[in-house]
Symmetry: C2
Subunit: 340 residues, 2 copies
DNA sequence: TGAGCTTTCGGTATCGTTACCGATAACGAT
DNA sequence: ATCGTTATCGGTAACGATACCGAAAGCTCA
C-alpha cells in the first residue's frame, strides 16, 4: 500500500507483461528491436491498463515530446481563438499535440523576463517549441524554437502577419472610390505592429487620393468590442459625422454597427462600415459586413508549420512571413452620393 | 560545450549565487529556513537569469504544480471557448496556471481508454487536476481530481451543467404563449445530456399546453453553425413551415436567421427564433436574438472552483451542479396572430 | 563445430527538481 | 566551559521515463 499513485506507470506495465521497463519503452516508441510476440503482449497490457507515458518524465529525458506550446495572454479576443484554431489544425495534421498555456497575468506583470520564464517552464521538458500569440516584445535567446504571431515589432523571430498595410489601403481606397470623403478610423492598440500597419494603410489611401487626414476622425481602440463601443459613439456623435468608418477589426466593426443602430443611423444608407479580419460572424450580421479577409486561421496554421519545420531541423528564416489579405465586398458599404 | 541547454537550470542559479541547489529550491518555494540575505541574493540571480523552474521536473518530484488542465476536443465550438474563458477567470483569481490540452483526435479515435491515457499523460507530473469539456463518457479512476462540464451522462464525477430542461421549457412556453402552434426544434447531439434535456423541456412545454409534438418539426444538429444550416433549410422548406423555431444553441439560431434571410422570410414578422446560450454576439444580431441565458462563463468558473476545492483537500460531492438559466427577451420573437 | 553476426532484451545512468536527513555554526543558558 | 537549541545550509535519493551499453541466444557460413 505504499504506492497508491492514481496513474499507471511504465513499471506496472512491465511487471504485468513480464518484461523490463526498457522493453516497454521500446514498444512505446516503436523501436524495431522488439520481437513481434513481445510487442503484441506489451501493447495489449498497455491497452488494458489504459497506460500512457507521462509527458513530464518522457520529455525530461528525451527532449522531444511531439507537443507544441502556445502562449496566449488574452483569451477574450476572438482573434486569438481563431489563431489557436488554425494552429490546432496544422498540429493535428502533423500528429503533434497542442498545449495552450495561459500564464498568470498578475504574477508576470512588469517582469521584463517573463517570456524567458514561461519558456523555461515549458521548454524541452514539456513542449518542443512555442508559438507566442501575445502583444509583447519578445525577449529570448534566439536558439530556441519560437514563432510569434501578430507581433509588436519586427524582431529576431520568425513571425506570421498579414499584409495589413495593403489590406487597409485597399479597404479605404474602396470607400473613397465610393465617394466617401470623411472616413473615420477606429484603430487598434499602437503597441501592435498590425495596428500601426493598418493605420498606415488608411493614411496612404488618403494621401494618394489627395485627401486630408482629420485627427477628429480617429479613435484609438484595442481590437475589443467594449473599447470600440466608446470610439464608435465618439465618432458618430461628431457634429459633422463620418460617412464611412473603417474599423481595425471585425469586432470593432460590430460595435460600430451596434452604436449606429442605437443612434438610428442606418447601415449602409447613412453610414458605410468596413471591418478587418473576416471572422465567421461577419458574414451573418445585418447587413453582412464588408471586410478585409486575413484568414486568421491560416496565420495560425502557417505559424505551426514554421515551428514544426524548425523543430524538425529544417532551417527557418527570422523574418516576417506575410499572408495576403483581400477585400470581401458584402453589403455594409454604399456609394455616397454627396459632393463627389 | 557538452551542455548547450537553452534554458537555465537550478544548478546554474546555484552556482551563480554560490549556494547549493537545495537552497535555491528553498528560496523558490518560499521556505522560511533561508537567511534573509541569502534569499535576496538568490532572488536577484533568478531575476537576472530569467530562471523559472521546469514544470515537468518540479511536478514530477513534488506532485503539486498549481496548474490545472483542461481537456478540450473541439476548439471550433464557441461554447467551449466561453467555458475556457470562465475557467481562466477563476484560475487567475486563485493564482493557478492553466494548461489547455487538445489531444490528437485521430490518435485517440475509438480508444475506449483515451481519457485515462490523457490523464496519465498530464497527471501529477504536470497538472494537479483536470476539467473535461468534451462530449464523451468519462471512464476514469474516481480518486483523481476531475470535473466535467456539460457531460454526456450523469456520472461519477462532479459535473457542471445548466438547468437545460427548465430553460428550454421556459423558452418554448414563451413561444406558445405568443400564439405559436408550430414550433420547430433544431436540437443538439443526443450524445450530450444538455441536448437531451433541452429537447425534453421542449416536449414538456408542448405536453403541458396540450400540443402534439410533430416529428417533422425536429431537426437534429450538433450545436454547430454548419450542421444547423442544413436543419434550418429543412425546416423552413416544409410545405407548412413552422412559425417559430427554437434552436438548441445560439450558434444554431444564427444559422436559422441566416437561412431565413436567404429565403426571404422575415424575422420576427414571419418567423420567431429563439436561441440558447446568450453568447455575446446574440445581442448584436439583427434583430437581437431572444435566447436562454446559461452564462457559460460561469459554468467554467464554477468547474474551476470545484476542482481547486478538490485539489486543496476540501470535499466535493460527485453530482450535477446545476446553474440557473433565464429567458432573455430581445427582438427575434413576435406574437403569432393566427388561429390562436 | 566454432567464429561472427543479428536479434532481442535487461541493467544502469541520467534528465531537473524537491523531500528528507543530517551537518555545521551561532547563541543562550546553566 | 559545556550543553542544548535554533537557524541555516548541503548532500543524496527519489519522481517516471528514455538512451545507451552490453549480454544472451539464435542464426549463418565456412
Amino acid at each position: 500500500m505504499k504506492n497508491q499513485s492514481v496513474s499507471v506507470r511504465i513499471q506496472d506495465v512491465a511487471r504485468a507483461a513480464g518484461v523490463s521497463v526498457s522493453t516497454v519503452s521500446r514498444v512505446l516508441n516503436g523501436r524495431d528491436d522488439v520481437a513481434a510476440a513481445t510487442g503484441q503482449r506489451v501493447r495489449k497490457i498497455i491497452d488494458e491498463l489504459g497506460y500512457s507515458s507521462s509527458l513530464a518524465a518522457k520529455g525530461m529525458r528525451s527532449r522531444h515530446n511531439h507537443v507544441i506550446g502556445v502562449i496566449i495572454f488574452d483569451l477574450s479576443l476572438s482573434f486569438c481563438i481563431e489563431v489557436v484554431r488554425g494552429i490546432d489544425q496544422m498540429v493535428q495534421a502533423q500528429a503533434y499535440d497542442l498545449i495552450v498555456h495561459t500564464s498568470n497575468r498578475a504574477k508576470h506583470s512588469g517582469d521584463p523576463a517573463w517570456e524567458r520564464k514561461v519558456v523555461a517552464q515549458l521548454n524541452g521538458s514539456i513542449v518542443d517549441g512555442i508559438i507566442f500569440v501575445t502583444p509583447a516584445t519578445i525577449n529570448l535567446p534566439t536558439n530556441y524554437p519560437v514563432v510569434t504571431i501578430d507581433p509588436s515589432d519586427e524582431g529576431a523571430f520568425p513571425s506570421v502577419i498579414a499584409t495589413n498595410c495593403k489590406g487597409a489601403y485597399t479597404a479605404v481606397r474602396y470607400l473613397i472610390e465610393l465617394g466617401h470623403r470623411r472616413v473615420g478610423l477606429i484603430g487598434g492598440s499602437p503597441a501592435l505592429l498590425s495596428a500601426r500597419q493598418r493605420r498606415q494603410g488608411y493614411a496612404q489611401a488618403h494621401y494618394e487620393a489627395g485627401l486630408p487626414i482629420l485627427p477628429e476622425l480617429y479613435a484609438e481602440g484595442d481590437y475589443s468590442y467594449q473599447t470600440a463601443l466608446i470610439g464608435a459613439r465618439q465618432l458618430l456623435s461628431l457634429p459633422e459625422r463620418p460617412t464611412a468608418i473603417m474599423a481595425a477589426n471585425d469586432q470593432s466593426a460590430f460595435a460600430v454597427m451596434g452604436i449606429a443602430n442605437q443612434l438610428g443611423i442606418r447601415v449602409p444608407q447613412d453610414l458605410s462600415v468596413i471591418g478587418f479580419d473576416n471572422t465567421p460572424e461577419s458574414a451573418y450580421t445585418t447587413p453582412p459586413l464588408t471586410t478585409v479577409d486575413q484568414s486568421i486561421v491560416t496565420m495560425g496554421s502557417r505559424a505551426a508549420e514554421l515551428l514544426i519545420q524548425w523543430i524538425e531541423g529544417k532551417p527557418v528564416e527570422d523574418r516576417l512571413y506575410e499572408l495576403p489579405t483581400r477585400l470581401i465586398v458584402r453589403a455594409s458599404c454604399q456609394a455616397w452620393p454627396g459632393h463627389s
